[in-house]
Amino acid sequence: MLKGREGVRVDIIDRLPTPFGLVRSGVAPDHPETKIVVNQFSRVAANPRCSFFGNVTLGSDLSLSELRKTYDVVVLAYGAESDRSFGIPGEDLRGIHSAREFVWWYNGHPDMCNLAPDLTNTDSAVVLGQGNVALDVARILLRCTTELASTDIADYALDALRSSTIRKVYLVGRRGPVQAACTAKELREILGLKNVNVYIKEADLATSPADKEEMRNSRIKRRVYELLSKAATVHQENNDNDRKELHFVFFRKPTKFLPSEDGSTVGAMELEKTLLKDDGATGKQVAVGTGEFEELKCGIVLKSIGYKSLPIEGLSFDKYRGVVPNLRGRVLSSESETATVEPGLYVVGWLKRGPTGIVATNLHCAEETVDSILEDDRKGLFTDPSGPKRQGRRGLLEILEQKNARYVPFDGWEKIDTKEKADGELKNKPREKITRWNELLEAARE
């Protein structure tokens, strides 16, 4: 946006005191190279035409309509902070968490620092889903804590993992290896973990003509399938106490969460065997239950079946797809065909496309939304000589002062950053994250 138009001023508003979104709270601690992109982000924030306002929440500190009255252009980029659920019995038993909560927990997100998942009541963990987030949580549960000790993982998570009794992790998917949503890099990494035996049933690797067609059309699926096939044939060393286990479970869909003996937490999962059928409408293969059930004992379940965006007051929302209806980033009044474009309101990222994709995907998504904004600007859609001139940053500061909202500017984040890095140095970590709201705000004001 700064590059595209001279003189534009951009304000970034975030409910957290820390910027960077999922790069800070989603990317796993043992993936530091993926976080290098914050250098690029920091350069943008350092631009004099750009300002950061942390600790400001849309919906409580200010409303969408106030924002639209204050700025010529409002872009909603708040992603997906909720989860898809199964809607099956037992889902509210203790010991069942969404992967998002677990990831926020080990990444020190201030909303999840008190999650306190119990990693000591069982030797078996079940992860439902086989995408990259599922692989992330499985890998963090399995990786040697000595390796994790030198990452930016939250201190309480490292402590919990050190005393974890979990030795077996099951990655459960409704469909087969060809439909697994993970990608090669992450799969290669987890298959290569030292001290972990990987179990994949050869029978699960049989492919149908439809499977072969899917692989013909997708380089990613081909390479993922190859990796899984190779892993299935590796002779597993005898399992002594040092080695942990990773089981890939295919063609099983969860039907019930069963309580433990004392009824307090989850004790097992009921799974139904599935078959793949061609869904004529979408052309995809879908999993259909066969009526055969089995039980899988476990003491903790992490659901990794997808994130979901949250709707807000005054914003159209497609409940089925979990996104804001839009046309190349321009927000529409509804998802119906007769919808009109909402002037000055745009959407980008997961809120626009759904919760999939990586850093690069969002880069291209941003380019599309910015193209729409610049096009609308050229058409003169943001200049209304009859209406009052929007106050922009000045207007925002007035609103925040009225509400007594103490925002965190970018140099407030820099103070947090400096403290985290300094504390990290003492423990041979790149940073020791501050994980409590009040401590974050204190550090920002020092």
Binding site: K185, R223, I358, A360
Partner: protein
């Protein structure tokens, strides 16, 4: 910005010394120019004019760019933008295409700064003969190429393509999202 150092009445030899100092100072990068001012009473002043601002660039990648050094062999590389416009640059042997692009203000993203953790520096090698001159991508590069937008049969990551003499004249296209371009009749084949 300038200041002057007054040199009072001196013998002719001092004038020679001043001249030598003058010549040496001219070579100093901080000093834009130096001149000798001789006033009516035969006093001299050395007037220094400094560079207005000294800019230090924060390069995202370290480079061994040799300013004015001709001992490093260079090859010619042409970047073709999404809109078809071109820019030809000179790249020293051993430098990656990503580094070269950044040094020449070409808009090639490098989110992970060359650590094989993203696909934002994806480039398309336009001539398959040049593509074949490159070493095969490693598993790690292929893993990232899997995710690249608009992948073609001659796609590579810019941070992994290193300039060598055989690549002189190579043409690299920056991938277009949905727009197709046909420069020299070239159309990337979807992979």
């Amino acid at each position: 910005i300038f200041f002057s150092l007054p040199l009072y009445r001196f013998a002719a030899s001092t004038y020679v010394q001043a001249n030598i100092a003058f010549c040496l100072l001219k070579k100093n990068l901080l000093v834009k120019s130096v001149c000798v001012y001789r006033s009516d009473d035969l006093s001299f002043a050395l007037v220094f004019v400094f560079q207005k601002s000294i800019l230090f660039s924060t390069a995202t990648t370290s480079s061994h760019h040799d300013e004015g050094g001709d001992d490093k062999e260079k090859i010619s590389v042409t970047f073709v933008n999404k809109d078809g416009t071109e820019k030809t640059i000179s790249v020293p042997v051993g430098m990656s295409m990503l580094e070269a692009a950044h040094e020449n203000d070409i808009e090639l993203e490098g989110a992970c700064e060359g650590s094989l953790a993203c696909s934002t520096c994806h480039v398309i090698v336009m001539d398959v003969k040049d593509y074949n001159k490159l070493e095969d991508p490693t598993d790690e590069e292929n893993d990232m190429l899997d995710l690249a937008f608009g992948l073609t049969e001659t796609s590579r990551l810019g941070c992994q393509v290193i300039a060598k003499p055989e690549l002189d004249g190579v043409r690299l296209a920056l991938p277009a999202a949905t727009r197709n371009f046909a420069v020299d009749g070239f159309v990337p084949k979807p992979h």
